[in-house]
């Protein structure tokens, strides 16, 4: 394992900003690059990055990196936000994952993403542990953007239960995933059950899925369970379930559970009187893909997403 300073920047009072990456294997063929947290609340993503560094180090020590393949892991990019409990870049609140490929002579965060992109581009496979703007609990899945360069068959090799294909919006064109793809890297985002807290089980599942993928691509030797043959779904095919009232949100089903049309999914309770305002029923048979996780909810918010007519 070789540690490299990927990007640095001086600060006035805070410690200097230093992003480190960990290289495994010989400096030969740029096989795979893995990036952890890009936002300050992505604690789980940071944790998975650290797990992978530890596991890859052991694999490397046992001669498990095949040929001249090189793997780079950057567990944390936006740690300044992690350390002060901010969601985005702590000084100007910009979202680093909407600033790729960056500009080396541009503004602060654009220079930062340009510096990172310079180091992470050129790899055959790019894997990012991401989070989604809609906060809540998800079933573990691999996410790909439909850019014309995407390859759902490869995404299946992670062995996670689902692969989600998303049509990029204009705003998505500035993400790391999209820019990786535009630069010839096969890019994947891995999403687990948690973001701002550590979920040990799904973190280990995500780390194992990456090792499984690297093994199947001939980059490492690692014996693991075969995982799932994923169901490939398109994001627009997920059925959104919305609230018809605002108030306390009492969830009756969890991600990964099967529901039948008419099953109780959640109850909305009036915060002042404790009366039940609404009971939200499943609009279709299917598997719960996403569930709102906050105790309160606004009217007409998306509280669940369901994979229609799929059975467990």
């Amino acid at each position: 394992m070789r540690r490299e300073l990927i990007f640095s920047m001086k600060n006035t009072y805070r410690d200097d900003f230093r992003v480190y990456g960990y290289h495994f294997g010989r400096s030969g063929s740029k096989a795979a690059c893995i990036v952890g947290n890009m936002r300050g609340n992505e604690v789980q993503q940071l944790y998975i990055g650290s797990l992978l560094v530890k596991m890859l180090r052991e694999i490397e020590m046992h001669g498990g990196i095949v040929g001249d393949n090189e793997i780079l892991v950057i567990p944390s990019v936006n740690y300044p936000a992690v350390n002060v409990g901010k969601h985005f870049w702590p000084t100007d609140n910009t979202d680093l994952n909407r600033l790729f490929p960056g500009n080396p002579t541009g503004e602060t965060t654009s220079r930062l993403t340009a510096g990172i992109f310079e180091k992470v581009k050129g790899y055959g496979y790019g894997i990012q542990f991401g989070s989604l703007s809609m906060a809540g609990d998800y079933v573990p899945h691999v996410r790909m953007m439909e850019t014309g360069y995407h390859n759902p068959g490869l995404a299946n090799l992670f062995g996670l239960p689902y692969v989600v294909i998303r049509k990029p919006t204009p705003y998505d064109t500035a993400t790391l995933n999209y820019n990786w793809q535009m630069n010839g890297t096969n890019a994947f985002s891995i999403h687990t059950a948690a973001t701002d807290q550590i979920d040990e089980e799904s973190a280990r599942q995500a780390a194992s899925s990456v090792l499984r993928f690297l093994t199947r691509m001939g980059i490492i030797r690692y014996h693991s369970h075969n995982g799932y043959i994923a169901s490939v779904i398109r994001e627009e095919d997920l059925t959104s379930v919305k609230t018809d009232q605002a108030g306390f949100f009492r969830r009756a089903v969890n991600p990964g559970e099967e529901v039948a049309r008419g099953d109780l999914m959640a109850t909305i309770i009036e915060p002042g009187t404790g009366e039940i305002l609404s009971q939200i029923m499943a609009p279709t048979d299917g598997i719960v893909f996403f569930a709102h996780s906050q105790p309160l909810v606004m009217e007409r918010a998306i509280i669940f997403k369901v994979i229609r007519r799929l059975h467990s």
């Binding site: 541009g106 220079r111 606004m298």
Partner: protein, 312 residues
């Protein structure tokens, strides 16, 4: 007449409402044009608030001159304004990156969809922004080069010194202005002033311009001034100055003043060490149309933009 554009119940005892004031002529003919002023998409931008007030006041004082329908939307992100938050609070989403919105989406996307629906069919729309808390701007019209051909003629009436035609960027296709232009509602973006403050003279200047444009459209038949002849920049004539060191920026120049190439714009100093870390110089002769307002800077922070004099 105050009308509600969109309404969502919040969890406890509160309704989020986006409202507009519809001001009609004393005698309706049924042939009136509809002119919309929108602002407050970013909750930390307040210059548009004063423009809305002043426009409202002047129209109502001389209502006899009103020949069309003026609709004023002062707060597209009311929760943001009332909580001094740039993004849509709770979910931390930039409202100006989710247009055209959708009925099926998150609450923020749903609201964007309602706003789009409400603005559809207008004859002209002006979207007023106030930079951010870091940067002060002179009043300027910003046009995307993909839509500038149709809009330039209108922009000249807005009484700004400067019209900036910037290159098309995919990421900006999710803005309100781009969406409305694509829907056939000519929409001009005005940037001016600085976040969290109002600059009275800029607000009056723009209100004067809005009346000029209203007269051109046949919506106003009262007296108006002759609008300033703006410099039209295609972007190449703008000199950029970025910080190369972090610290406290102390300006030596005034915003909206001319500067000569090589003149000192300001210094970045280190309060702890008592040292000057960097002296910043003008890269060209011209008008300082953008100047750093928030003194603490990181490496790369935008300090100034200078419009080269050769354009004038």
């Amino acid at each position: 007449m105050i009308k509600t554009v969109a309404s969502i119940e919040l969890p406890v005892n509160e309704t989020l409402e986006i409202r507009k004031n519809v001001i009609q002529p004393e005698h309706l003919t049924g042939e009136e044009k509809r002119f919309c002023i929108v602002t407050g998409t970013h909750g930390d931008e307040l210059e548009g608030q004063y423009v809305c007030y002043e426009l409202n006041r002047r129209i109502q004082e001389q209502r006899r001159h009103l020949k069309g329908i003026v609709e004023i939307y002062p707060a597209l992100n009311p929760l943001g304004i009332d909580t001094i938050t740039r993004a849509f609070p709770v979910v931390d989403v930039d409202m100006n990156r989710i247009f055209p919105g959708t009925e099926d989406g998150s609450v923020a996307e749903l609201l964007a969809g309602k706003i789009t629906e409400d603005l559809a069919g207008a004859d002209l729309c002006i979207d007023i922004h106030a930079s951010n808390i870091y940067i002060r701007e002179i009043p300027q019209v910003r046009l995307n080069e993909s839509t500038s051909n149709n809009l330039l003629e209108y922009a000249k009436y807005l009484n700004t010194e400067f019209v900036w035609v910037h290159p098309a960027a995919t990421v900006l296709e999710s803005t309100l202005a781009h969406t409305m232009n694509m829907l056939g509602v000519p929409t001009l973006v005005v940037e001016m002033g600085v976040g969290m403050r109002i600059t009275e003279k800029f607000c009056f200047q723009l209100v004067d311009g809005i009346f000029c444009l209203m007269k051109k459209l046949g919506i106003w038949d009262g007296d108006v001034l002759t609008p300033k002849e703006p410099i039209i920049s295609l972007g190449g004539e703008v000199g950029l100055v970025n910080a190369e060191k972090p610290g406290l920026f102390v300006s030596h120049v005034k915003h909206r003043h001319d500067i000569r190439k090589g003149e000192v714009i300001g210094e970045i100093v280190n309060p702890l060490k008592g040292t000057v870390e960097e002296t910043l110089y003008a890269p060209c002769d011209g008008l300082i149309f953008t100047l750093r307002a928030y003194p603490m800077v990181e490496t790369g922070a935008l300090i100034a933009r200078i419009l080269e004099r050769r354009q004038s």
